[in-house]
Amino acid sequence: MPTVLLLGATSDISVAIAKEFGAHGYSLQLAARNTEHLLPIQSDLQIRYNVDCTIHAFDALNYDSHQSFFNSLSVKPDVTVCVFGVMYEEEDAWNDWKLTHRMIDTNYTGAVSILNIVAKYYSAQKKGTIVGISSVAGERGRQSKLIYGSAKAAFSAYLAGLRNKLFKDNVHVVSVKPGFVYTKMTEELPLPKPLTAQPEEVAKAVFKAVEKKKNTIYTKWMWKYIMMIIKNVPEPVFKKMNI
């Protein structure tokens, strides 16, 4: 059975993705900085789906540890899903360089650091799939998502470039661009119900995208069209909008 590695495995979206892959018989590797939190998730996945499930310590910001983290995986994953990310209040980040820096480093630098390592391995093996959970916030820069959006934009550009670079080596890269999702990250935000996905919907879409080798997916699907409209607003108009 194939194995999937989840980076940021304590997140709500990751838990849902792990269940979806587990339900399809995949072995699971859960990586997160808080391994204590992974224990109940591990037993849950093992019991529900009768699959192997292992726990690994991983901190996206500890770049130096990334190579040894990957080396330590005794079974190398067939699919790697990069889920971790942070979204701080933009107002706080504006006023505190440390927060800005951490938001960029987690969403972009940390992701590039670990995925470069995974990508090199997959290239050499001439197989493998990388999934990156980016965001529609990266589609166009705007004030209310100034730093988060720009970091996700960088991450999206990285994923697209990686897809291009690895194509010749038979390695597939999926860019996932969720709109709103009901998770811890957004618990305090009033989200519009028709536009907001449950983590399980995202997970199903991710699994399908991996199986069908899709390049970029939006969840929910209408976000593709919403972003198309937003991207097409002329800049002279867009810059005046309170968005």
Binding site: H37, S43, R48
Partner: protein, 464 residues
Amino acid sequence: MKKEIANWGNYPVIESDEKSFSYTDELDKLVAQPKSYIARGNGRCYGDASLADNTISTLKYDKVLSFDTEKGLLEVQSGITLDQVLDIIVPKGWFLPVTPGTKYITVGGAIASDVHGKNHHVDGAFSHHVIEMDVLLASGETLTCSPTENTDLFEATCGGMGLTGVIERVIFDLKKIETSFIKQKQVKAENLEEILQLFDTYAHYTYSVAWIDCLKKGKNFGRSILILGEHAKKEDLDDKQKNDPLQLPKKKQITFPFNLPSWVLNTFTVKAFNFLYYGKNFKKEINNVVSYEPFFYPLDAILHWNRGYGKPGFIQYQFVLPLQAKQGLIDILNRISDEGIGSFLAVLKVFGKQESLISFPTEGYTLALDIPVRKGLFEFLDELDQIVLKYGGRLYMSKDARMKPEILKAGYPHLDRFKAIIKKFNPDFKFRSHQSDRLLLTKEKDSKVNGTAVVLPKMEAAVK
């Protein structure tokens, strides 16, 4: 974030700041806030038991911690729902020891309401199967309790409506099954006398419940259908079923899209009843082998059927009367049919003996019926309460949205001890709900505790 929430009856609707957590230490941090809370499972109680200004949703705290497939013991976090539990245990040859009429409730909710199933007379209520559990107390401490350890906490948590603290980890026992099918028997009864007789006749059946037509008068007063069942053995199955004896039912669900006027649902349920009752093929008795799903959860096939009662919502009125109080049952059914309040069907069950501090089940007849909220309803129910009390009965807190504190007091003989235990573990009423305030379990009469007065939505507002 503040949002409008309501439980299954859609009455009352309140604004609540609902928080959730995935990990035990996140819960600890939440409860350490200087606020009062009530735990909320899947909101399947009908009234205001899991409603409060601040609620803690347990739904993300839903992990399975261990499953002993030899002994049939399951260890879970309290927010897991019974439908998920079934998916895990049934293929391994185990079943829930007790299940209510919906599988969309959490294990925490099953304990806090000490829910009963169609097998109460044989297997008792849910808490009877709890081996041990952890409860997070107002002090921030987590205590393990069981029938032999911290017994006061255990008995006040079973049926205690979340007032001792938040149930975290639970170990409960399961029932061994050979197949996932139920050998079902349906028997028609012409009237109330006959159905009560039939309950006696079939007392040896593990599962039994009856649907009563509340509107019939005269010689067909109380006509009903008794539904009985046993877990099927392999030899009971047909060839197709035998291929996969422990199969899970197919997941098919239709969602009730929006609030409809109540006659829609009533017409639907009455049609369904009449179809069964008068259906050409319906002899006095039908025997068949069915999946556990339609047997235990006939209503779950339609997600959100409660919306069928429309915007004002509805009340489920459920009481239990001692076995010798048959006359009480007759009086109440008479009052209901006289009043023509629109509840056509009621569910009747016989409870076996149960000794407990604050749980609802106690030996006798229990009747549950859905009634749409409208003007005059609460006065009418106050009248029914008096009949219930007169015959020595009580009401089910998990279904309640309106009973007066006196009614609770009169129905539950150990209420004072329950209150004393709440005082011990929840001294400042950190855990409190609309219901517990209304029933004066976490509030003195007419006084404001912690500055929060509970204002129940006015009936007039509700029916507009």
